[in-house]
Symmetry: C2
Subunit: 552 residues, 2 copies
């Protein structure tokens, strides 16, 4: 494996971690805990792992000798920067407890556990991946650990390898499943512990106990680099409107953080669209108004950020999608539909929708109308992530501007489109993520040593220097509630959406009117790993504001 | 103007320049020169600026006192990283000659000169823009300086401001026009000198005298960062084929440099397509073969780089485009065409094409077939840059795979698309570009002091440390030849395409078979400004190979 110059230079970086983890620690237990909602249901589903106390590590006088143990690790779900450092921290933590401890990586996500596909992670391997991006060390996968049959298949290989604990690195769904597994293994008295680690670039796995999920910092910085570069281009050329869609399946944390970092002319926040019950036409009109206002002020250019998940937060669009899903969910309809010539399909759909949805559908650009019915997933559902929202909006804005009887305004509207997502998921972790991930992995080793199961590794006080960070564990059941999913009501970790009364959104809301009129672009540039601390070690603005800091 | 943390840190960077420029220099003249072709025609068009000698600066014993002078500067054409540093270098160079010299920036490109729209660039302004990306200090524009009326309008304001020399920062076209202007002002005995600086991210303004154009280094590094991040994601998820289109209007220098930096599975080089007379079907088949080969080896993923200009290098596609342009160039046809309903337009075109082109047109995905006839420029020509080549290719690859009677292969082919261009044009310049641009600007001040006109600033030996670089000037006529353009035969700077017998292409060609089969991705990461020199100061691989260095 040939290494780039950056990888060579970066290999020497020693991630910082809470200084307390450098010596022996002991686990201090807090009060018993409750789930965020549906306490009784969650308790009945997790009788063995419900209500456990929050755990905090504090320095200990004496180091308790530990036997050598074997531990397994899984990367689950979409890539996020820093995954390799979680594994490196876990490895180093285990080795610090006993030099003969071993770490096994299950390959390709949860499937590796079920299908007994694994590799031992030795120091030779670990060293090659320190401070690098990607999940390629053992790869990831999207299979879900949900069924007892899968748990039993896993148990077989865990026993065979004499594995005492399994660390699952993943998002809300994967950690929900880690909790199911912990409960099952505890119920069965297997003696196998399960520990989770909070990962997702979307930033929606966070709560009172988990300050941030790893990867969010790096991904937002990469997107902000690109947005800033485009802003500078936009402000130099002064002739384009850039519609920039940003990854993030539901929550708009990424769009919000990038807006705070780059100060665009407009940033749509899905959660606000939902609260205000804004329909598609409201959003389009707001953008068209902005285009006209800036045009009148001599500014024929602008930057608009759009969260990927927007479509599902727009009330009238949501209804349209659910009508199409329902319509084609009926086998007889689907059969009839599939027999139709492609050119006839749109009018077939059009004729079966409610009047309101039919009107909306008719107003869509042809390409989007086609995307909505041609590309459906294996359940027959519309694949929302394939809809090019950035083009949808710019097309509709053009139509809206055309109705304003100002040919010069219309002519001056030249949109360009971008979608950033894959560019940020596997970037080399920022110093923050490199440190945070390493600390999470190291903390996981301490939770294992403390005999915990059904816990998520927790590193807090993360806006302070890393040496002052605190380490501990949170019972996963504490973050759960019951939610309705495809197959009925299920226990899940509650997803953190953007809070409209939270400091990050309020700070944005206070400034955005100014960003509309003036051109206040900020150009953050690429992530720096070697420069001054105030440039290289700063966490996200979201995190700082959430932790009570103020913006300069 | 609020500054980002990077801008604050970067403001303190002192660009490096040839150490000789730190003291007094004198201009040493070489032999008389000739244009690269059409000597007599070029000479007759440029009687006053043809045949001048190449100039080299060498340290001088005594510093000759200079009077204070006024100088103008223009940014012309597309943005490229480092433009602000050219201006800063020019400013510092002029001030070093006489503290009372002044620099005026014409606003919004050549139009600023013609329309007398300018600002004085004082040290307060210059200091805010040192080492930053963008052209926003005075903005750029695409107007062309070609007509005497424009030259006269410019002369008026130059005289009014008592400007002794004008520096035009631009690509091949802008420097061609700088030469026309130099010739005209010399012919008219205006005493006003014109100096050019070589700018373009495309990398196609280079020759025996100009080692590289500025901005190419930074832009390629930004694109390579993104490609590397996507490669790492691709190699972690192992389920997508990424089709990545890269900016670069004609030449494939960017795609080639990015391929050398990131080692993708395939990189198309337009110049090779043209030489091999490969038609669209050949290209599609090559990609489909690669997809199948990798599928058979268990690799359902890959990375393909596509130069933006490709379409115009594919012989059968080129014919199709010229037939459409010719067809709709006839006013009667255009009128008839425009009256048609949108749904009838494709069959109208289809019916008027030659059999071969009609067949190719019919084979295109509907979206591309529509793009080809719906979006034409003000001359009625197809807007080639709007064609989504990356989607065209992946659509056709899917069709090709569908004919291979292997449903699993077809199902496993999941393409994703990217286009990178605007992300790199205004990035903060790499150390190389920051130094190179500053040196070019400083050199321009020395060419002015030496009384030169019709010269391009030249900084050479650029793979050595900056202190060892050499500075001089090249008569622009030396790079010219006659080429056929819309309005007939014209004198222009010859564009540098990728040389298929040059070291960069040959190095790529030697390695690419291996990259196809194996997964040899390299992850360069983001541009670093503050780390070790071997990471931060390295020039492009293209430049190193062209200068006889070998790859490690």
């Amino acid at each position: 494996m040939k290494e780039s110059a950056l990888e060579k230079a970066r290999a020497n970086y020693s991630p910082k971690m809470p200084s307390m983890l450098g010596g022996p620690v002991e686990a201090v237990e807090g009060e018993k805990t409750q789930s965020v909602a549906n306490n009784e249901e969650i308790q009945s589903l997790f009788p063995n792992t419900y209500g456990m106390p929050v755990v905090k590590f504090i320095p200990s006088q004496a180091s308790k000798p530990m036997p050598a143990i074997n531990v397994g690790v899984i990367l689950s779900g979409g890539q996020a920067p820093g995954g390799h450092n979680v594994i490196a921290g876990l490895f180093d933590g285990l080795k610090s407890l006993h030099a003969d401890s071993r770490l096994y990586g299950f390959l390709g996500g949860p499937r590796g556990l079920i299908e007994h596909n694994y590799t031992e992670l030795t120091s030779d391997i670990i060293d090659k991946y320190r401070n690098t991006g990607g999940f390629d060390i053992i790869r990831s996968g999207r299979d879900k650990l949900e069924h007892e049959k899968q748990f039993d298949a896993g148990l077989e290989i865990l026993n065979q390898l004499n594995i005492k604990a399994l660390v699952i690195i993943g998002g809300d769904d994967s950690n929900t499943n880690a909790c199911l597994l912990a409960e099952y293994y505890k119920k069965k008295n297997t003696g196998i512990q399960v520990i989770g680690c909070p990962k997702t670039i979307d930033g929606d796995l966070k709560n009172a106990q988990i300050e941030t999920s790893f990867g969010f910092d790096t991904a937002c910085k990469v997107y902000s680099e690109l947005i800033g570069n485009i802003e500078r281009d936009c402000n130099s050329a002064r002739k384009y409107w850039h519609f920039i869609k940003l990854m993030g399946r539901s929550a708009s944390h990424i769009a919000l953080e990038c807006a705070l970092q780059t100060q665009p002319n407009l940033c749509i926040i899905s959660e606000e669209v939902q609260r205000n019950n804004s329909n598609l036409d409201n959003i389009v009109t707001e953008i068209a108004d902005l285009v006209e206002e800036r045009y009148n002020a001599g500014n024929r250019f602008g930057i608009i950020l759009i969260p990927e998940g927007l479509i599902e937060f727009i009330p009238d669009f949501k209804v349209l999608i659910s009508e199409i899903n329902k319509l084609l969910g009926v086998p007889a309809n689907a059969e009839q539909f599939n027999k139709l010539d492609k050119s006839e399909r749109m009018s077939y759909i059009q004729g079966k929708l409610s009047p309101k949805s039919a009107q909306l559908y008719a107003s869509l650009p042809a390409s989007v109308a086609a995307q909505l019915i041609l590309e459906r997933d294996s359940h027959g559902n519309v694949q929302v992530s394939l809809i090019e929202t950035e083009k949808l909006l710019s097309d509709l804005v053009r139509t809206n501007l055309a109705e304003r009887n100002n040919p010069k305004l219309l002519e001056a509207f030249a949109p360009l489109h971008h979608f950033f997502g894959y560019e940020g998921r596997c970037a080399a972790p920022s110093n923050f993520d490199a440190n945070y991930c390493y600390s999470l992995g190291y903390t996981a080793s301490r939770l294992i040593a403390a005999g915990k199961t059904g816990y998520m590794a927790s590193v807090t006080n993360t806006t302070a220097p890393a040496s002052e960070w605190e380490a501990g564990g949170i019972p996963i059941t504490m973050m759960m509630n019951m939610e309705y999913r495809n197959e009925g009501s299920k226990p899940v970790i509650r997803k953190a959406l953007v809070e409209l009364d939270g400091a990050p959104f309020l700070t944005f809301a206070k400034r955005r009117e100014d960003w509309k009129k003036s051109t206040s672009y900020l150009y953050p540039g690429p992530i720096q790993y070697f420069g001054p601390a105030e440039l290289c070690d700063r966490p996200t603005i979201t995190l700082c504001l959430e932790q009570g800091k103020t913006l300069d």
